[in-house]
Symmetry: C2
Subunit: 356 residues, 2 copies
């Protein structure tokens, strides 16, 4: 059977002050009334019954996400004692799914990206499942919209044919986040797509890769797997997990795997990694301002105003990020928003941990 796994373990420091320790990025209502996590569930609902939609997240966020998706069975929330990266999160989910269904095929999805072309996304996932059933590890590659240095890239190799209207390629190589010039060359070549972090594979197949490429972790995973469905599960997981190596699925598995295929897709995919990305998601007015909430600007241009019911008023402002939440406010130039992470780091040092 086909299963979906939503990875919802991130924190999203760069979206402070909206994202917080207790309100991670995927739980935020950035656009409209539904959170990014809820959008991720909504996208799956037409094709997957709730019983086959799983979520992997961290303990501190599980309750909030369960509230946001009450239609999902509580037991489908797989809770990590602490985040160890995407490889362990996927491994943990895989042993749960394998126990449920030895023939399981799964799609791994993220909860912190936007996808505007839902129909096309569904068709791509459906096609990828068909490729995965043939034994491939499949990834969805995003047609690059710009030479971004914020994503990894996938180099398409030999064409493997067509599936459900999508071209399928063998993956030549995974490329880590590149420098700008390298990114430009890759985009210009037409042979690369962005690594979206969306994967489709047989559960047994990915566990075999864990056994081959991350044997120490696989052994730890087996200790946990033996306790599945028993009262010992939580204790063993709590004991094992802090010893698990931190690793991404890309670096830990995909770069060294054989039989990896990519479907380059155009599905209106947006990373929502930082405030800058909101310019792609919010309506932008004639002055170049992206606005959510009550706003009155005089001579204000190219500015993000992310507020709510409070009024944000500006005069003579150019290229700022202004984010207004219930208990904290951020003002910084767009060009420096990458320093938000540093700012969050400073909060604790300066006795302002309540705003973390």
């Amino acid at each position: 059977m086909d299963y979906a796994l939503i990875m919802a373990g991130g924190s999203g420091t760069r979206l402070w002050p909206l994202s917080r320790q207790n309100t991670p990025k995927q739980a935020l209502r950035l656009v409209g009334e539904r959170s990014m996590f809820q959008h991720a569930v909504d996208r799956l609902a037409p094709d997957f019954p709730a019983e086959r939609i799983f979520v992997v997240t961290r303990g501190e966020h599980a309750a909030l996400l369960q509230q946001q998706a009450p239609e999902l069975p509580v037991e489908n929330f797989i809770v990590e004692p602490e985040g160890r990266g995407t490889a362990p999160a996927i491994g943990l989910a895989a042993i749960h799914l394998l126990r449920r269904d030895p023939q399981a095929v799964m799609v791994v999805l993220t909860a912190d990206h936007f996808i505007s072309e839902t129909e096309r996304f569904r068709r791509a996932v459906s096609a990828a499942f068909q490729v995965a059933r043939q034994g491939q590890l499949v990834t969805l590659g995003i047609q690059p919209a710009s030479p971004s240095t914020g994503f990894g890239y996938i180099h398409q190799g030999q064409p493997l044919g067509e599936m459900g209207g999508f071209a399928v390629f063998a993956v030549e190589r995974f490329v880590e986040k590149p420098a700008l010039e390298a990114a430009r060359q890759m985009v210009a070549s037409g042979e690369y797509s962005w690594n979206s972090g969306m994967f489709i594979w047989q559960v047994q197949r990915i566990l075999d890769e864990f056994q081959r490429q991350m044997p120490a972790f696989y052994a730890q995973l087996c200790m946990v797997a033996e306790t599945l469905g028993t009262p010992a599960y939580h204790n063993v997981l709590e004991r094992v997990w802090p010893q698990v190596v931190k690793q991404t699925i890309d670096y830990g598995i995909m770069e060294g795997a054989g039989d990896v295929a990519v479907l380059p897709v155009e599905i209106g995919w947006s990373d929502v990694g930082s405030w800058e990305s909101l310019f792609d998601l919010l309506p932008v007015d004639a002055q170049g301002n992206a606005v959510a909430g009550e706003f009155l600007g005089i001579d204000t241009h190219n500015t993000l105003v992310f507020g709510g019911s409070r009024l944000v008023a500006t005069i003579g402002v150019e290229g700022l990020v202004i984010v207004d939440t219930g208990d904290a406010l951020l003002v910084c130039p767009r060009a420096r928003e990458q320093e938000v992470r540093e700012l969050v780091g400073r909060l604790k040092e300066s006795g302002k941990g309540q705003w973390l």
Copy 2:
């Protein structure tokens, strides 16, 4: 007997979003826990019993000011149906005081200026009362700290001697708000002081000036005076006041009066007309930031952060005004804060009257 009148009728549009229709400038807690109006009352308390401290204000602000100064008798709040400028406000207060005490001498004070040197202020007022009892119209002139174009100036003429340690001069001339070059010349000459709007005179003496220089208004004032202490007072005042000419005491009376004296004083006086002036009143840190409330700044300089319990966090900000109130936020460069008034004007047009 000596009486004090606090003029508390202003609105303070330029301190939006803190100042509002229902919360005028003088009622704001800009520095510390007491409002500017409360500071004005506090300064008088050692020298004036509450029964001899009067307040003139507008109907919409009377209740708030009464709450802020419950120690003052309610009947000492003289309420104008609408603001008509300082001349009518003072005239109205004068007829109240004259009825109470035909020998009354009064000091007219503002509620929207800060005075840091309270002791020196009290000695100056005391000295001015002595000069006023000799029949002069007395004003306190502020030693100019800069060639400000935001104040009127007073040209000192013939020295009239000394009183209580303060030099007394005949006033040669009142000068309206000057251009910058004229202001520079006046400050350089050493013969000018700022017009602070603080006056001391016998009540009968100022009413005589109203009769001579503003006879139409004086006639209206007499109609009101006849009803003092009767049930007709409010109706007559409500009927007369909208017909009263709008006029300032400076232009309507002082510029044309004889026997006007000035005491130049140094009392740590600050106008609090705009956000810029807060740089003089708040502690300024090593980066040149004037901060009230919770703040975390990275590479932030020469910026006013006026908030409260919410955290204001900034990165890479230079020379901004950031004012954070319960329901509205202002962000603008210091150099453009004079446009706050325009912004307030826009609120109504753009359907945001709730933030006025």
